[in-house]
């Protein structure tokens, strides 16, 4: 299961971010995790109002400020200067996590170290590290109405990140709803992992070889294979 991936194959991260952004619904309140997931903000389609939440106590996260306009009292969960959209508001951390844990966020888009076929997530601590960085990850995964992962399909060394059972310390069990990777979009369902969409030029078998848990073909994938006659 440690297959190297060709550099040129699959979606680039910005294109993948656009896929995520496209799936967010008008009016949703969404938390984008620190790092890669923040890319999604740049691809929200015109005319769709997505209210971004930042767990340090802000709704209505806007883009980065212009150079020289940074305000140290206005930062995101990654402690980077940001701006506030019209309609945005400030609140405390306890109010912010009441909002998260209380189920008021429509979706959280998060990074991952490992995700299991049952939607268990490991994202806060590597087994060989002394320290983990849990931050708000456990609250976001148990509280958000939908948890989407935004991640590379494999590690830098080619190890599968989608696995039968997480070996790394868990963030939460049964919490992930959908996995967006450079190779495919995979739903976590009661019937197991179902590939919803393949990146252009990527076959089902190619994804399965780089996944350490059994995948199923979703309806759209099956019909595309049938219509194009492309071997998977």
């Amino acid at each position: 299961m440690s297959k190297q991936q060709e550099k040129s194959i699959g979606w680039t991260m910005p294109v993948l971010a656009a896929h995520v952004a496209n799936d967010l619904e008008d009016g949703w309140c969404v938390n984008l995790g620190i790092g890669l997931p923040t890319l999604v903000a740049d691809f929200i389609p015109e005319g769709k109002e997505i209210i971004l939440h930042s767990e340090n106590g802000l709704l209505g996260l806007g883009p980065k400020p212009a150079p020289g306009e940074e305000d140290m009292d206005l930062v995101n969960a990654g402690k980077e200067p940001i701006t506030l959209e019209p309609g945005g508001s400030y609140f405390s951390q306890s109010e912010s996590f009441a909002m998260i844990r209380g189920g008021h966020l429509d979706a959280a888009v998060l990074g991952a170290f490992q995700v299991s076929q049952y939607g268990d997530l490991a994202s806060w601590k590597l087994p060989d590290k002394l320290l983990g960085r849990v931050g708000g990850a456990m609250d976001l995964t148990v509280g958000s109405k939908r948890v989407y992962l935004f991640m590379k399909h494999c590690t830098k060394t080619g190890e599968a990140k989608i696995v039968e059972k997480c070996e790394y310390p868990l963030t939460a069990k049964h919490c992930v709803d959908r996995i967006y990777t450079d190779l495919a979009i995979v739903d976590v369902t009661q019937n197991g992992l179902v590939v919803r969409q393949l990146a252009p030029g990527v076959t089902f078998d190619y994804v399965q070889e780089r996944t350490a848990a059994p995948l199923k073909k979703g309806e759209a994938v099956t019909s595309e294979i049938e219509s194009t006659g492309v071997q998977t």
């Binding site: 008008d26 009016g27 309140c29 005319g47 109002e49 209210i51 939440h53 709704l59 209505g60 506030l84 019209p86 309609g87 945005g88 508001s89 400030y90 609140f91 996590f97 009441a98 909002m99 998260i100 844990r101 209380g102 189920g103 008021h104 966020l105 148990v142 509280g143």
Partner: protein, 231 residues
């Protein structure tokens, strides 16, 4: 585009079904969503469980739903007042069940419901009639009661100003139970005196964030009655 505005209170309450749990803000007449209550008396849903602090302080509050025979259970801290006669009569003939909850426990149970906390311990009510049957547990040599969260199907709240997203700003002690109830219902309906453009509310002053409000009803200046009189 987000737009939570309903043109009429009747439309905003139209889907409330028999048996629903309803949180109603207000402290006496202050911050009372009386137009939503009036619309619900016209709509007629029955067997409601109503959670509200005061019952009977004013005629156009929860008392109106009781008199209209729409309520089967009340959770409140203060079930008395000049308009409590119909409640008392229905308690006596067993038509309504009453759960008296200390005011702070009521507020905290609702907060817990909105904050994803299923239960908590509180010192309030230990060794009293209102604590009977509840789990008692000792922390640091003091006794506490276990209290469970309250979640509503609907919340009726009153605020002064909203924007299209549903952010709310209150006026003075109009806040009372409104901000906490807004967080604790599947569908929160706010009646407001005015709706401004997104971006007009001071982000430091927004008390109920947009994410908590699902429907907005703008008072038309005729039906709102009690509030504008005092402005």
């Amino acid at each position: 585009m987000i737009d939570k505005k309903f043109n009429l209170a009747e439309q905003a309450v139209a889907d409330i079904q028999d048996g629903a749990t309803l949180l109603v803000g207000g402290f006496g007449g202050s911050g009372l969503p009386s137009n939503l209550i009036a619309a619900l008396t016209e709509q007629g849903a029955k067997n409601l469980t109503v959670v509200s602090n005061n019952i009977g302080a004013v005629s156009d509050g929860v008392a109106a739903l009781i008199s209209n025979n729409q309520v089967s259970k009340i959770m409140c801290s203060f079930p008395v007042g000049p308009h409590a006669d119909d409640l008392i009569q229905r308690l006596e003939n067993g038509k309504i069940e009453l759960e008296i909850v200390p005011q702070g426990t009521l507020a905290e149970r609702i907060r817990a419901g909105g904050a994803g906390i299923p239960a908590f311990y509180t010192p309030t009510g230990v060794h009293t009639e209102l604590g009977e049957g509840k789990e008692v547990r000792v922390f640091n040599n003091r006794e506490y009661l276990l209290e469970e969260a309250i979640v509503g199907d609907y919340a009726f709240v009153k605020a002064d100003t909203a924007d299209r997203w549903g952010n709310l700003v209150y006026r003075k002690t109009q806040r009372n139970f409104n901000p906490v109830m807004a967080t604790a219902a599947k569908t929160t309906i706010a009646e407001v005196n005015r709706i401004v453009e997104v971006g007009e509310l001071d982000p430091e002053e927004i008390i109920t964030q947009s994410v908590y409000v699902h429907r907005l009803v703008l008072l038309d200046g005729v039906r709102e009655g009690r509030v504008l009189i005092n402005e």
